[in-house]
Subunit: 333 residues, 2 copies
């Protein structure tokens, strides 16, 4: 497909460690044979970027800046220019580790929504022990939601799961709630469940009912649907728990010389487990429902995370993810 | 105080491991000098309960039973009888590891609401590394909430924190959201924040703004206020993460003979850390806003968890927690 040969437009100025770590990631990605261009200042301030192309953008939307205002006023920002390159058919995908709200706003305002999509949403893959993933959608784009939107999140989340992780079956999609029974949940969940049970999700969704917060990391389902407020709180709760465990484990493992020696033995196994759960390895979240591929990487992204995000953006574009998303929503309007 | 001499009414039939483990916990609690009575069948089926008094109740509301219906139809259930004993001034507190919804309904219908309280809520202490706690409120009683209710949750959560964990200062109370800025959050959070910022919480609440899911286990604040849907999802996400982490760690530590030997060295430190984070040690959640003390222990409670829950119920009653909650809400009506 044509999109497979186009480069990925990487926001050089987005992220806590930009531009240095982003540029390093871009160089690594290029070394792997991934087509990538940097979007950012072309004045030499990005350093020696070797053979990488730079698409110029003189402005930067800061991590804490108001997204809407940033996109409106900074028309020559790296985020806006990256989104425009996808809109104009020069890039297959945009990738940013910058201001999430501004990345969404850039993509939405420059690429536009897919026909029939009420609200774009963020799909975030959660790593599950054993190597699989559960995709959470919406992970933070829409704090207040309507049942119809959640039905579309289910459709788009299912299409995303299929494009990203394949498998022959229809993705198992569940609603995040506070009990498995249909009587459990808030009004939004109850109304959404009714719709999904009567088939509103269409043939691309195998709706399996409700799951709870404790099921997010068990791989029990492929896609977990929720509003962006609950999803973001849950996601960050998991991040916080992981960080706390690591901290505690680190303390125990370095408590004495004896403990340090014992830890040497366990370290390879622990590192392997940590690698499998590392958000840096999942390749970032994707904004679903806009007319182009927009991959959002964690603000603290390392070069490794950037390589993975570029690869995911490239692969999903090559697989025609946007057409798949459009079809998933269109089929049930 | 008079309440300090009254016994705690313990639901002998509530919990996944009832009645055996509950009775064992009651015996342990009595051996510690805590005044406790069992509420349940007096036909000898509870086994040899030694010197423990049994207050008879012939019915049981099952773990999966509809709470409202259970309380309405089973008037001689252990839960209903336990709640009545508090209402009638025969017990200082009720404790149950059974059906959470039915425990709440029993307490609410038999004891009644505190004057001015719109909705009772569940306060769950989260253990924080280092030995302190952050209280989450509402952890699951109300799936759909109004801003005024959340203001009362803040007031009651603050009073609960003070009664339970003391400290001289005013409890630091935060709203759970998806960003610290006042612009971040859903409509409920934004409206509640406005009220709390204009002092609606009263003098018992030191409102410090928003926190995120990743702050739940850092001890940054004393009380985190949220709706019961988000709170329950976040709580179970943390539980799930803890379980997954233990599972992974167990796998790494038993992967080889060498690993097993190394793990022996680390085990004491790990067990100590696990003990500090163990939900069994926190003494259970409390229903705030009813006219009596109702402690809700985890469904899988062991005898140890039961002892802790009985102790917490006894202590909070002796400290006059109900009067403190009433005052916290009353002061700002």
């Amino acid at each position: 497909m044509a999109l497979g040969r186009l480069p990925v437009a990487l926001d050089a100025m987005g992220g806590d460690r930009a531009p240095l770590e982003i540029v390093a990631g871009a160089l690594d990605a290029a070394a792997e044979g991934l087509p990538v261009v940097l979007v950012g200042p072309a004045d030499g301030s990005l350093g020696d970027v070797a053979a990488l192309e730079i698409w110029p953008a003189t402005e930067v939307i800061g991590m804490e800046e108001d997204p809407g205002k940033g996109v409106r006023t900074k028309k020559d920002s790296s985020l806006v220019r990256a989104a425009e390159s996808v809109r104009d058919g020069r890039a297959s995908a945009m990738v940013s580790a910058g201001n999430t709200g501004a990345a969404m706003a850039s993509a939405l305002l420059r690429m536009g929504r897919l026909p029939g999509v009420s609200r774009p949403c963020i799909a975030t893959p959660l790593p599950v022990p054993g190597g699989s993933h559960t995709v959470m959608v919406d992970a933070g784009a829409n704090a207040d939601c309507q049942p119809e939107w959640l039905v579309q999140f289910a459709q788009m989340g299912g299409a995303f799961y299929s494009a990203r992780y394949g498998g022959s079956g229809t993705p198992r999609v569940a609603l995040l709630s506070i009990g498995e029974e249909s009587s459990k949940g808030n009004q939004l969940v109850k109304e959404t469940r009714e719709r999904l049970e009567s088939g509103a999700g269409g043939s691309a969704v195998d709706f399996v009912g409700n799951v709870e917060g404790r099921d997010l990391l068990t791989g029990r389902v492929d896609v977990v649907v929720t509003d962006g407020f609950t999803g973001n709180v849950a996601l960050k709760a998991l991040e916080g728990a992981l960080k706390m465990f690591m901290h505690i484990l680190g303390g125990v493992m370095s408590a004495s010389e004896e403990a340090k020696a014992a830890s040497e033995v366990l370290l390879p196994g622990l590192l392997e487990a940590a690698e499998a759960l590392d958000p840096e390895s999942t390749g970032g979240a994707m904004l679903l429902g806009v007319a182009g591929v927009c991959v959002i990487s964690h603000g603290s992204s390392s070069r490794k995370a950037i390589v993975n995000a570029v690869r995911v953006g490239h692969d999903l574009a090559a697989r025609g993810i946007v057409e798949m998303l459009a079809a998933a929503v269109r089929s049930e309007r």
